[in-house]
Amino acid sequence: MTDIELELRRRAPAPDRLPDITETAASAGLVDVAYATLDSPVGTLLLATTPQGLVRLAYLNDDEATVLEELSDKVSPRILAAPRRLDEPRRELDQYFAGRRREFQIPLDWRLTRGFTRRVLQATANVPYGVTTTYKQVATEAGNGLAFRAAGNALGSNPIPIVVPCHRILHSGGGLGGYTGGVERKRVLLGVEGYSGLKQP
């Protein structure tokens, strides 16, 4: 490398504060998915919304890139970090964790679910705060009471946990069952809701 090449590199513009393009892009209708993160008693959450509503809520375990890639593949690659677009869901979740909210008002976008899975999750969305039900029960409401194992899988693939309260679904015998984010989180969420019917592990 020659003298002048070194100089060009050395004197190249330094990294600068980047102009924020999110609001311009969002108001021009060029953002299909807006996302933000939120710290909560069950760890850091990633929230993603489309113009239709909340489409994804993910427990982050250092895998933010994976979650965003999945959204890019399944919804749209036009994803931007735009926390202000998530103000309302974040506010409702904060209130929920503080025990000051029993129902979420935010609209949901169900596009990451289909068929039986969607029906199971929509039945789950109707289970009230602090109440639990069984895999068999939501399978029945989704139209097939025999498919409680499939219902378990459907709940395991819930793209919007907490807001679609799959933590309220337990084994028929009262056992905790599984949970997408790990059963410890399930226990915490039921605790937030003051549910005390859990068998001791």
């Binding site: 020659t2 002048i4 090449e5 100089e7 060009l8 590199r9 004197r11 190249a12 513009p13 330094a14 990294p15 600068d16 980047l18 102009p19 393009i21 311009t24 892009a25 021009a28 060029l30 953002v31 749209s76 690659p77 036009r78 931007l80």
Partner: protein
């Protein structure tokens, strides 16, 4: 993509159009990119693609500037729009590069700011690799003979 390439795109634009206009070009680059994204077929090289968009914005910017530059009788000694030194701490070497022919300027900015290889420069500028090499070479030659700090 914004996180991965935003900083380099911005530095490329600062080198190409100067600090004051870089922010506008940067906004326009990403708006155009987001607009085109759904139609993007080959997503294998996003970096080259976003630099291609930025390169086009630099060309648009130069064109727009030519349009507003009306000839005047008396040329003022100082620029009509005073740029405060704090706002424009532009390096004089790169200011000199901006006066080079556009192809040479862009080739240098891609190579020495965005660290692009000749294959990437040729992809972004739509030229052959030989032409990319020539542009860089010519520009370096001119800088060596003409540029005095």
């Amino acid at each position: 993509m914004l996180d991965a390439h935003g900083p380099d795109v911005h530095r490329f634009l600062v080198a190409s159009v100067g600090r004051v206009d870089a922010d506008d070009c940067y906004q326009e680059t990403w708006m155009a990119a987001l607009r085109a994204y759904p139609r993007l077929r080959d997503a294998s090289n996003l970096r080259s693609w976003i630099f291609t968009v930025a390169h086009r914005k630099v060309i648009d910017h130069a064109r727009a500037r030519r349009r507003v530059a009306v000839p005047v009788g008396d040329v003022p000694e100082t620029p009509a729009i005073a740029t405060s030194p704090a706002l424009e701490p532009d390096d004089d070497l790169w200011a000199y590069v901006r006066e080079l022919p556009p192809k040479q300027r862009t080739a240098l900015a891609l190579r020495y700011v965005a660290d692009a290889g000749y294959d990437e420069i040729s992809a972004v500028m739509g030229t052959s690799e030989d032409a990319a090499r020539r542009n860089v070479h010519e520009a370096l030659k001119r800088l060596r003979t003409e540029y005095r700090p």
